[in-house]
Assembly symmetry: C2
Homo-oligomer: 460 residues x 2
Amino acid sequence: MNCITHLSPGLWRYPNDESLRYKDIEYWQNIAKIAEKGLFDAIFIADVLGVYELYQNNDINALAYAVQTPVNDPVQLAAIGAAVTKNLGFGITAGVPFEHPFPFARRLSTLDHLTKGRVGWNIVTGYLPSANKNMGTKELPHDERYEVADEYMEVIYKLLEGSWEDDAVILDRQSGKFANADKIHHIGHKGKYFEVPGIHVCEPSLQRTPVLFQAGNSPRGLQFAAQNAEAIFISPMTKEYTKTAVKRVREALIKAGRDPYSAKIYVLACVVTDQTQRLAEAKYKDLLRYVNEEGSLVLNSGWLGEDLSKYNLDQPLTQIKSNAMLGKVEEYTHSKTDDGKEWTLRELIKVGGIGALGQKIIGGAKEVADTLEELVNEADADGFNLAYATTPGTFEDIVEFIVPELQKRGVYQEEYAQGTLRNKLFGKGDRLPNSHRGAKYRVGGELSSINDYANTGRKY
Amino acid sequence: MNCITHLSPGLWRYPNDESLRYKDIEYWQNIAKIAEKGLFDAIFIADVLGVYELYQNNDINALAYAVQTPVNDPVQLAAIGAAVTKNLGFGITAGVPFEHPFPFARRLSTLDHLTKGRVGWNIVTGYLPSANKNMGTKELPHDERYEVADEYMEVIYKLLEGSWEDDAVILDRQSGKFANADKIHHIGHKGKYFEVPGIHVCEPSLQRTPVLFQAGNSPRGLQFAAQNAEAIFISPMTKEYTKTAVKRVREALIKAGRDPYSAKIYVLACVVTDQTQRLAEAKYKDLLRYVNEEGSLVLNSGWLGEDLSKYNLDQPLTQIKSNAMLGKVEEYTHSKTDDGKEWTLRELIKVGGIGALGQKIIGGAKEVADTLEELVNEADADGFNLAYATTPGTFEDIVEFIVPELQKRGVYQEEYAQGTLRNKLFGKGDRLPNSHRGAKYRVGGELSSINDYANTGRKY
């Protein structure tokens, strides 16, 4: 996230941590360079627009402890990183409620042009009520947010996939014709929430639609992800629950009429590593000293949809009447820690104070690589969404210790695949596969709605 | 503009012109580097969202001849250019109708953070009807667009100037406190068009409010510019009318209660130069061969608010019943060419086909420098908004031939001034001056509306 220590409240105070420099171009370019050095597929910039104000029913602690506030625009980081890398992808988060799809489609195309097809879009529907208040819009019921998102995607697909045909740009220097206007179509969209009659104002980029990321975890959210996403983030806290969580996504993909492996499933993990297991454990202990408990309570209150100041920290999680906005409590209360104990709120706050509520993998190269392999092999996951404890620190350690170990085992790429981010991930070309929902909006596709206003002379 | 040859339709075909590369990071970084080499104050990225469809009542010619379509997002170019420069400013255009002020304020702060205070914002109210149609909003009457823009600016000022006090960020490592929440205020905005109760989600950037650019030319537009802008673009076509146009802006500033020199006035000019006057004239003639007449008719129809396909090209301009959306026809019909003749449509299309409808200054270093000095000294202008015929080409020529000549005459900077773009331009610090409208929205200012919801525990 374009903020101070995204998922590790208080860790900005750790020696040599530079996350206060999130306002500097060089800070982000350094992160991009280390990620590319480690042959990471992409860096992923999360986002919230709004403030966490559920804890103690105000925003004071979020502001005091810099809990994902201040938070800058994520969109502007992709091109900065692309300028100093050749292969790294950039997953950018943007929220459906915060920008109309017509100008937003232009932002996506611009991102994909500037990065030469290395961009992904993490689609969010917005979960902080404070953001809606500031947009002057009333907060929609959870499931209706996904109805809006469904139509929003329809508009995006029509613009990115359906407006310009592949051979629209002709570059005829003699006649001066840049394009054949007959191949640039008015999408003629008229729906319940949006009306967009015109053309997409950008020429097609390499991927057209960026690689689509999603993290919906509620039943309706998962349905949306299964219909649209090509990469799905999950954040199970235990190995055991990871199996369940992956299976749930694969089944949702099948239910949506897709191949269960047509979307990559990435497990949120925070890796703390060093030359030996002992050193890694010492590092983790040291990191924990800098976690800000108030900050962690603010964050976790937001994630659980419940003001945690009302609870005794030593209560078991089963006692918390959570709204379960991210489906978290269901998961926690159905699982024990890997030691077989029941989670308490205090444990949650502590563990969740470094790299958020996902896998915590602490050890030397061997131990970490073993766990990562287990999660991929036994739980059927495709890879990891790595949270940092400190930056620099976490990513540098992974690149130094873990990547070579995984390469030695033959389970990690030795070089980048060719082409766009989509081709690197799936090896099947730059564009959305024909089987994807978005492809149906192409010219000639079953959901195409193009309307060139033949009777009115191509005027909107 | 983030498009192919912004103001010179057809010139993308000129030998060695690279404007088809507008999709590449390196293309924009090269432009930034040459501008900084020439000690330009800033590069200015214009924008339209929508298609020029007035000419022949359709969008076919705009698309065929790449007339400001395709057009990519301008916002993403600033940080790219800032990454390879140290002093150059970046003026970014964004339209009030196309993004809600709450998320847009975040984009502005992010731009100013990433560029370290080198950003300007060109405020536009949108003039292409096709853009509004695609936003699902009805087109507002011209003057009401400025009423919306007035309130939009109010929200922006409240967020950027009034939400965070200067000493809000405390960075107390001991207590873990990043900020003193008591110094971060809810702006409590409730207006006719917008309701934004909360805080600004970004910490203050060096300039807080970016340097404000405007180009409003209608009476209502000029009033808006005079109340808000720190740099005002004008585009008189003759030297004589430049005096009138500058005087009109200075008087509007006085009427708005401001010092007539508190905003810089920049004259649109396209300079074609070379080692000698003769070579420059030959170059201009050669450039004219590549102008696309259809493209120029499309552009000028949009600017004049009139379908020029209905007219005989050899008619004098006085015959055109223009809506004068940019106030252009009034200007043309009140002025003769510098040769004393009345403008015809054909002349307008030809001259306006290279670098648009502003000054056309053709000559060797001496002739061009003489004209630039005259415009500054006699017409009381502050500087120039330089349009390009080709890129690379126009800017490189100016840096090679004109800048050294102006420096020799002692009328051009030898090095950049220190600090932010605002300080470089005015030498009076990084922030809006206290006399500016925006400063009145600061905490304690006469227009501050902060509302920290004391009775409701700081919740929105």
